[in-house]
Each structure stands twice: as structure tokens, then as C-alpha cells.
């Protein structure tokens, strides 16, 4: 759902792509990826970007989809708790595989934000076999490097905290640590076979190798010619059991650049970061998945390894395979590879609950960019009946050219150039937000857009939605469900997603039926209950005023 900035003249650059229904963690503002595949796409390389399909497949007899589809999903559970979902599809000799771990930003502790995402990057660095020429010789160097690096980070923080007051001794100590650190890093580098795992996949025809970290989940994907499945099993079971965090400090630098690219230099990235952290004051949903910069820079190899050990057991993983596979052989292969990995002890449960919001919160972000606005309301999440009602409201408000917000704000009043909504920001494992976004059309202001949005929100409370609107929502949901079956990678993604989030991939089907039962009265009730002033957070992107320098320059005053 990410839209690359388009370069077609005259085309409007929409700051938000169409936000997907239900699939909250795919919401672009909260998800970060290992590599921005699209940026490397060329006419020469094949680069299949795994798409965030808007939810769904469903098998609704009335829509004419193969009614037996649900029967085609084969489930298998290993003794160590690993869940395997498979769909056979033999038209083309390829297979798409999605491994989803029930871990994400939501599992992080204060001071270690960004660790889930940093680990996801480190998971590409290899194992005791892959990515090294000699692990036995490499290991002691990596151990020492971790100790020196951690001490260096700490000393540097201390010196920085003293600002000008740091003693010459402190600085000398830092310098000597730096020297030692660089020497060890160079020694360790001798044993590294850079990106070897990715290289093996590519040599064997793998495409779409990537990973993403969200608030709720961390996901690893690849598509391969189907006879390469044993290669996949060897690589991935090794990576699930024995990752080695080599090149740690360099990768931390890469992640810092990713943070600058996505959040610091992107007006909408920064707007969403600020908005979400204003809406959640206690719960981890308020923390950007990529982490705060200062936290990223203080993450250590030891903490990252501990995070892996706590959250990456096979018992927290779902593997979905869709394509040209033989389920019996696939199960046997997975049993003799992943089956050898011991289950991890239960991870600590999530503790913090967001306290009830008692009054509107408003924040501003200044940026050298044109204005935009995000409005969010706290609401319950997946599993609560009101969540399904919010999905319907989401579609009624912003799905398509005939949706209410588009008709009113874009077409009739011409206040906004684009509008959007999302019923599950920024995740679904905990109570979340219903958000509405809009980009004003100059000279109209965010204030005008905001009050027009509230008119539509009030209308939801005052008048029942029409039968036609509800019918349209369901028709589009059913069609999306069928379209979601088109690609192997999309289907694998959906199956693993709902298995990991809802505990059962069939949630895709049951949620459709719940949406079908939503009534006009439900919509009115839910809108009245959650869409209130005191329950909302509003973030506004404000054009950074250049007026200071303009004023200074006026009156023919020339600055030196």
C-alpha cells in the first residue's frame, strides 16, 4: 500500500496510499522493511515486492469463488509448537513462503526501542555455517567486539552528558576504546562472507527476499522455484536456531539511515510518528517501530541476542507455503529441519494498558512541506464486536470514489485533495485507533478540513447508513477476498498474518461473516461511543515558517 512518489507531471502525489482495511500492521506508518525493494527494481532484475493485499480472500458461494477453497488449506503443528499452513497450487513450479513471528515493537522495553526491527536486520547476517569462513575463529573476536563496543557506547554517552565538562582522561579513554573497537571490527570482517544467505537465495532463483517489522509481528518472505524447498528449509531452520549477530555495529548505522529516510526526512513519516506517540502515552503502540534514534544507538549485541532468545522460538512462528508443493513431503522436510529446534519458554506477557483518554490531544509537526492532518480515536481491537463495525465505517468513509469523505471533502466541497481512513492503527494485538487522514487543497486549511471531517463523523451518529452503502461494503469485501487469492505470496502472507494475529487463519472467513452482520444501528452506536472529542488525538503538519528569514531580509536589510 505504499505509493512511490509518482513522477508523472500533473499527477497528485498522495501522501497516503489507500489504507488497507483491517490489516493494521501493514499500515505504512508503522512498518519497516529490511530493504526497500522497489528502489532497486530495474528493468533487468526481477523484484517482486510483496504486496499488502487488502485483506483478503473469501470464499463466498454467491460470489462464485471456488467454494472448496477453505478445504485447500492444510494445517500441521510440530511438537515444538511451530504452525505450518499450506496451499497446493501447481500451475507454475514456484512456491512463496512467509514466516511470521508473533513479535514486534509491542514487545520492546523502554530504552531499547527499535530492537525488534534491528534484530530483523541482524537475521540476514548468517549463522554459524552461513556468512562466515570460520565461525570457530570468528566467535571469540565477536565476543570481545561486543564487550568493547558496549563499553565504548557507554563511555561516549557519559562524555556527551558532561558536554564541555568532560575530562581529558575521559576523552583519552574513549579514544583508546575506539582504536581497539576498530581493530576488532577489522579482524572480525576477515571472516565475513557478506550477504551470503541472500546470495544463495538469488543464485537459486529466489525473488522477493525481504522482511518487515511491525508493532505486532515480524515477517520474513521469499519466493523460490519449488524444487528448491530443501534449500529454504536448511537456510531458515538454521536461521531460526543459530543466528550470529555479526556486523552488528555497521547494521546499526544502516538502521539509523533508515530512520532518517523514513521518519526524519519524510513529512508524513514524522507526522505519523508524532501523532501515534501523542495518542498512546503508556502503551508501546506509541513508540515508532523503528525506534527512537538515541535508543537505536545504544542497542547492544547482548540485548539483541537476548531479545532473539525470548521471542524467536518455533512456538511463536507460523510458516505459510503456497505454490507447487507436495504437502506430505513438505511436512516431512519441515519436521526434520525445523522440528529439531527446541521450543522457547513462554515470553513475558504484555503488561501496560493504555489508560482511558480524558480530553482531546493536539500536536503539531513543523516541516518544510505543505500541510496535512491525522485524527485518531481509541477503540477496541480484533475480537471485540465493535471492531468489525469500525471496519464497515472505514469502508463507508473512505473506500472508493463514492465513499462519504471522498464525495464530500474532495468532490463537493473541494477542501481536500485526498482523504483516507484506517480502522486499526498501528496494530491489532492491543486496543488501537480509528484514524482519518486528509490532505487539504489550498487555499483551504487543515482547520477547514478538520471541521468538515467532524461533520461527517457526526452524520454517522445522527443518520443511519443506507442499505446500499452496506451492500457495497460487502460486495467489495467479497471481491477483494477473491482477488487476494491471485498471488502465491499474497495468499501466504494472509494466512500467516491471521494465524499469528487471531490464532486462526480462518479469521479471514469469520470476519467477513461478522462484517455482513453489521447493521446501520451498530454504526450509529459505535460512532457515538468512540468518535468523541475527549477520545481523540489530532496531529497537524504545519509548514515550517520561512518568515523569519523573510522578515529579516525585508526593509532592504542585507545579512552579511
Amino acid at each position: 500500500m505504499k505509493t512511490q512518489p509518482s513522477l508523472v507531471p500533473g499527477e497528485v502525489h498522495l501522501p497516503w496510499g489507500r489504507l488497507s482495511r483491517l490489516v493494521a500492521h501493514i499500515s505504512h506508518a508503522s512498518e519497516v522493511r529490511f530493504t526497500n525493494c522497489a528502489l532497486h527494481a530495474s528493468r533487468f532484475t526481477i523484484c517482486s515486492v510483496v504486496m499488502a493485499l487488502s485483506l483478503v480472500f473469501h470464499v463466498n458461494a454467491s460470489s462464485g469463488a471456488s467454494p472448496s477453497f477453505a478445504d485447500r488449506v492444510i494445517e500441521h503443528r510440530l511438537a515444538n509448537g511451530l504452525t505450518v499452513l499450506m496451499v497446493e497450487r501447481h500451475q507454475i513450479p514456484v512456491v512463496s513462503i512467509n514466516i511470521t513471528f508473533a513479535v514486534g515493537g509491542i514487545n520492546e522495553q523502554v530504552g531499547q526501542t527499535g530492537i525488534a526491527h534491528l534484530y530483523e536486520h541482524m537475521a540476514f547476517k548468517g549463522t554459524r555455517i552461513v556468512g562466515t569462513t570460520d565461525y570457530e575463529k570468528e566467535k571469540p573476536i565477536l565476543d570481545e567486539l561486543a564487550i568493547v563496543g558496549t563499553e565504548l557506547d557507554q563511555r561516549e554517552r557519559e562524555v556527551a552528558a558532561k558536554e564541555g565538562g568532560a575530562l581529558a582522561d575521559d576523552r583519552t579513554a574513549v579514544e583508546s576504546l575506539q582504536k581497539r573497537f576498530l581493530a576488532l571490527q577489522a579482524q572480525a570482517a576477515q571472516y565475513v562472507v557478506g550477504n551470503e544467505m541472500a546470495l544463495m537465495y538469488q543464485r537459486h532463483g529466489g525473488v522477493g527476499l525481504n522482511a518487515s517489522t511491525g508493532k505486532d509481528l515480524t515477517r520474513y518472505m521469499i519466493s523460490l522455484p519449488s524444487n528448491r524447498l530443501p534449500l529454504w528449509a536448511a537456510i531458515e531452520s538454521d536461521r531460526m536456531a543459530n543466528p550470529v549477530l555479526r556486523e552488528f555495529y555497521k547494521e546499526r548505522g544502516v538502521v539509523m539511515e533508515e530512520r532518517r529516510l523514513r521518519n526524519d526526512d519524510s513529512p508524513n513519516g514524522l507526522l505519523f510518528e508524532t501523532f501515534t506517540s501523542a495518542a498512546f502515552r503508556a502503551h508501546g503502540y506509541g513508540i515508532p517501530t523503528i525506534g527512537w534514534g538515541s535508543d537505536i544507538l545504544s542497542l547492544t549485541p547482548a540485548a539483541t541476542e537476548a531479545f532473539f532468545k525470548t521471542y524467536y522460538g518455533p512456538n511463536r512462528a507460523t510458516i505459510a507455503l503456497v505454490g507447487d508443493i507436495n504437502p506430505q513431503e513438505t511436512i516431512a522436510l519441515i519436521e526434520r529441519t525445523f522440528g529439531r529446534i527446541p521450543a522457547a519458554p513462554p515470553a513475558p506477557s504484555l503488561v501496560t494498558v493504555e489508560p482511558e483518554q480524558r480530553g482531546e490531544r493536539r500536536v503539531e509537526v513543523e516541516f518544510d512541506a505543505e500541510p496535512a492532518i491525522v485524527i485518531g480515536y481509541h477503540k477496541p481491537t480484533l475480537g471485540h464486536p465493535d471492531d468489525d463495525v469500525c471496519d464497515v465505517i472505514d469502508a463507508v468513509l473512505s473506500d472508493g470514489l463514492t465513499s462519504r469523505l471522498h464525495q464530500k471533502l474532495v468532490r463537493e466541497k473541494r477542501l481536500a485533495v485526498s482523504v483516507g481512513s484506517d480502522a486499526s492503527h498501528p496494530g491489532v494485538r492491543a486496543p488501537n485507533l480509528f484514524i482519518i487522514t486528509a490532505t487539504p487543497l489550498a487555499p483551504h486549511t487543515t482547520a477547514e478540513v478538520e471541521s468538515a471531517i467532524y461533520e461527517e463523523v457526526e452524520r454517522l451518529k445522527q443518520e443511519p447508513v443506507s442499505a446500499q452503502e452496506l451492500e457495497k461494503v460487502l460486495n467489495n469485501l467479497d471481491a477483494d477476498l477473491v482477488r487476494g487469492l491471485r498471488s502465491n505470496s499474497g495468499l501466504a502472507s494472509q494466512l500467516a498474518l491471521y494465524q499469528a494475529l487471531a490464532g486462526d487463519w480462518r479469521y479471514i472467513l469469520t470476519s467477513r461473516d461478522k462484517v455482513a452482520k453489521v447493521t446501520a444501528a451498530d454504526v450509529q452506536r459505535v460512532a457515538a461511543q468512540y468518535f468523541t472529542r475527549s477520545n481523540r488525538t489530532v496531529a497537524v503538519l504545519v509548514k515550517k515558517s520561512l518568515s523569519k528569514s523573510v522578515t529579516a531580509m525585508s526593509g532592504n536589510e542585507v545579512q552579511p
Partner: protein
């Protein structure tokens, strides 16, 4: 820059049976085997062959039945494009495409089109890019006739309702006002203008003035003179019977009269401009320097294309496997997104570029690594291993070019649009397999030119021009509020 068409060499390589380096299979290995030692037999796959039919009025149709899901997809590729924009009305083609979609057509008003499509969940898009127009329809097969009626109505007789045109103009103007918001957008557009020149059809941009000037009559005329059945190629895939589909298409498109189709021709940039190295920057308050470094390159028909494409793949085109990724990202930790790209087509000079975003203080180092890596490509043979890896990745991933019926048909449509022979794919494939290290070196020497580098940087502070000055005389580009 123009849009890069989504078809790679790998995609162009025809309906071949795939061959890989291969011998034994380790599938029976009872332990966690060493993945490095595994080998596999080649993937054998013969993709289905679409059928090509030409209607009496010259409309070309590719058809491929696929009954797995109850869906039908129709695409139309049209011989039009913004290269035809009059110089005082830049944005006309794009606007015409946008309002063909939103302004009603055939027997349908704009509002009826929206209502009807969304009632039965049909997806319909129309757009005109630099070198082609494209439209697509995606419907459940039960709604095919309803969908086709609207689709044909909008393509053949767009109504361009005034209110929708007015809205589209306001939106286009807002888009222009927001062009300078994102450094990534600025650097891409400024780099294209730097390569082709700001008035060239491959780089020029609309302005608020040029959009304001557009009238409904302009759109009607542009549509009438450039969109004809004999300039259109349809690609149809999904759940239908071929004979029924052809009858349905004849019903909605059959009585459309032929017209004079514009012959796509885009002039080359003067050699003097092409050869001139330039270093420029845009001052914007950012935390990173957003970089594009490269120059104009060859067309797809160039005999060196395959060798250059492989050179680029090894240099920076292949993500994880490439030298730039390993050097700048993995070893130095200086960028999240780094690589090179060779974008070539048949109709204008291609672009070869390297890109990265890096914190201000690493700007000079990153550009330095770019230059060092080109020099290495030009002075040393690539290793046997690098070339083997590039070939294997290409051959083994080949099957993904046929991952869907629409991909198979789409590729044939593109080849025909570009005037390339159907066996062009086969030709490229043979060349890749025969490629030698010496060919790669020769292509790199000839076509990767450090003496011609154009460097565009978007970043902040006085340190940026200083960092850039190592690479030539630095010019600042001052952006107007609308670029």
C-alpha cells in the same frame, strides 16, 4: 524520469525451458544440511501461449484463458503519451488520461460510472504516461459485460464533464504545490531534468500555469487525435471462453473507426550536453543527503545492452548481491537504500544511475565509493564467481516472469508496443548465457563514464556544497514554490 516498464530481461526471455547448473538433489538429507553445497535440477516449465487476434479496425487482442478464479482482467495499451504535449500545455496528456477515467463516457455520466463500478466492485483505471497510455479493468467474471461497457465507453467516448475536469485541475495544481515536500521526489525530478534538460519530453514537468491553461476542448482534441483502435493493444486474461470474449470485444470496440496513429519519436539529447559532467544541489532542511549520480545511457536495441545490464547488475543492480550494497551498506553502514539502476527503453536514451541516502557527513565518502566502484568495473574483469552468480540468478528466477497469466500477456503486449520481435526474449537469453567477463568489462569501459557523471544532491547546510566540490564545480539549484 519516465516510468520504467516492468519487464526485465529475465522477463523477456520467452517461453523457454529453464536450465540451471545442476546435478544431484539433496532433498533426502536427513539433517540440517549445508545449504551452500546444495544443487538442484533445472526448473522445467512451458508457460501457456496466449493467442493474438487482430480485429478489422486494427485493434490487437492478446487472450489467455485462466479459470482458476472467477475474475477477468483487461488491459489496454494506447499509442499516445505526454511526449505529444504542446510546449505551452505540458500536462495535457496526463490530464486527458485522468479525466477519461473520472469524467464519464459512453452512455454513462461520471457519477453513474463511479456508482456502478463500486456497486459490483469493479476496478477500472486509465492513465497516460510519457510514452504510452494504459487502461485496465478488473472484474468478477459475472460482471464482465457491465464492466466492458463502461470500459469501452470511457476509452472511446469520454465525456470530460466540466466539473470533473475542474476538480482534476485543482488536484493537479495541488500536486505541483506539493512537489517540494519530499527530498526523494525532488532529487528524482531534478536529476531527470539534469540529464535530459528541463524542456525534453522525458523530463519536463507541468506548471501551475500550464495546467490552468488546459480546456475541455484541448482534452477532446488530444483524445480524438491520439487514441485509435489501430493504436491500441488489449491484453485479456482470466475466466472466460475465448470465442465469447472476442464477441464481447467486437460488440464494444468493433465499430470504432481507424485513425491516424502518432508514431512515437523522441529526440536524443545533444552529445555535447550528454558528455558534460555537472554537480548540482538543492538546499533543503533534511537529515540526509539524497543522492543521484549517473548519466544518459543506451537504448534497449543497443548491441551492448545485455553486457551492460549484467555489468550494472554486478555493480549495484542486484540488491544484496551487488558491489555497492556490500560496500556502502553492509561493510560501511552508510545507507539503507543504495544501488544502481539501468533503465532503458526503445524510444529515448536510457538512464544509468547510482543512488543512496546518507547522513550529511558521509556524503563525500558515499560519492567517493560510487566513483571507486565504477573505476573498478572499468579496470578489472569481474570475477568468475560474480558472473556465474549473475547468470544463475537470472536463469533460475526466470520462471517468475510467468508467475501469472497477466504477466505473460502483459509482456507480449509490451514487446509489440515497442516494435520488438516476439523472439527478442530468446535472443537476449542466448546472449546472457554466452556472455564473457571480457564483454562485461568492455561494456563497462564504454558505457560507465566517470568523466560524464552528473551528480544531483538534495540536502542541508553549507557543508553540502563543500562535500560536493571534490567532484567538480558546484551549482545550486533554487527551487521555486512549484519547482
Amino acid at each position: 524520469m519516465r516510468t520504467v516498464k516492468g519487464c526485465g530481461i529475465a522477463g523477456l526471455l520467452g517461453l523457454a525451458i529453464l536450465v540451471a547448473s545442476a546435478s544431484t538433489v539433496n532433498a533426502g538429507e536427513p539433517t540440517l544440511g549445508d545449504p551452500r553445497a546444495m544443487t538442484f535440477p533445472p526448473v522445467e516449465f512451458s508457460p501457456p501461449e496466449p493467442e493474438r487476434v487482430v480485429l478489422e479496425n486494427g485493434l490487437v487482442v492478446y487472450l489467455l484463458e485462466d479459470h482458476e478464479l472467477p475474475l477477468v482482467s483487461v488491459t489496454a495499451t494506447m499509442r499516445t503519451g505526454s511526449w505529444l504535449d504542446p510546449t505551452d500545455k505540458i500536462g495535457l496528456a496526463s490530464m486527458t488520461g485522468a479525466v477519461m477515467r473520472t469524467g464519464g463516457g459512453g452512455k454513462w455520466s461520471a457519477e453513474q460510472v463511479d456508482e456502478e463500478l463500486e456497486r459490483f466492485a469493479g476496478d477500472l483505471s486509465i492513465g497516460i504516461g510519457r510514452q504510452a497510455g494504459s487502461a485496465s479493468l478488473d472484474v468478477l467474471s459475472k460482471d464482465l459485460d457491465r464492466g466492458l461497457d463502461i470500459f469501452a465507453g470511457l476509452i472511446r467516448q469520454p465525456a470530460f464533464e466540466s466539473a470533473r475536469l475542474e476538480l482534476a485541475k485543482l488536484q493537479a495544481i495541488e500536486g505541483i504545490r506539493r512537489r517540494q515536500d519530499n527530498p526523494g521526489s525532488i532529487v528524482g525530478r531534478e536529476f531527470a531534468k539534469m540529464l535530459y534538460g528541463p524542456a525534453h519530453p522525458s523530463a519536463r514537468e507541468s506548471s501551475i500555469e500550464s495546467i490552468k491553461r488546459l480546456t475541455r476542448d484541448d482534452l477532446v482534441a488530444f483524445h480524438g487525435t491520439t487514441i485509435h483502435p489501430n493504436g491500441m493493444i488489449l491484453g485479456v486474461t482470466g475466466d472466460f471462453k475465448k470465442a465469447d470474449m472476442l464477441a464481447s470485444l467486437r460488440k464494444v470496440f468493433g465499430d470504432w473507426q481507424k485513425g491516424v496513429v502518432p508514431a512515437l519519436k523522441i529526440s536524443d539529447v545533444l552529445e555535447r550536453e550528454r558528455a558534460r559532467p555537472v554537480v548540482s544541489y538543492v538546499d533543503k532542511d533534511t537529515s540526509q543527503t539524497h543522492l543521484r549520480v549517473g548519466h544518459l545511457s543506451i537504448k534497449e536495441s543497443d548491441p551492448d545492452y545485455v553486457a551492460l545490464a549484467i555489468a550494472n547488475d554486478i555493480l549495484g543492480g542486484s540488491s544484496f548481491r551487488s558491489r555497492l550494497f556490500n560496500d556502502v551498506r553492509t561493510k560501511r553502514g552508510l545507507a539503507y537504500s543504495v544501488g544502481s539502476r539501468l533503465s532503458v527503453g526503445m524510444h529515448d536514451q536510457g538512464v544509468w544511475l547510482m543512488r543512496a541516502e546518507t547522513k550529511l557527513v558521509s556524503t563525500q565518502e558515499v560519492i567517493g565509493r560510487f566513483v571507486a566502484n565504477i573505476e573498478r568495473m572499468r579496470s578489472e574483469l569481474v570475477t568468475d564467481q560474480e558472473l556465474a552468480e549473475a547468470k544463475e540468478a537470472y536463469v533460475n528466477s526466470f520462471v517468475f516472469s510467468f508467475a501469472s497469466s497477466s504477466a505473460i500477456v502483459g509482456r507480449l503486449v509490451e514487446l509489440e508496443y515497442d516494435g520488438l520481435p516476439k523472439n527478442f526474449l530468446q535472443q537476449l537469453r542466448d546472449k546472457v548465457m554466452k556472455l564473457k567477463k571480457e564483454d562485461v568489462l568492455a561494456a563497462a569501459k564504454k558505457h560507465l563514464r566517470p568523466d560524464r557523471l552528473k551528480i544531483m544532491a538534495v540536502g542541508s547546510g553549507e557543508a553540502l556544497p563543500k562535500a560536493l566540490s571534490t567532484f567538480g564545480e558546484v551549482n545550486e539549484i533554487k527551487l521555486g514554490p512549484e519547482g
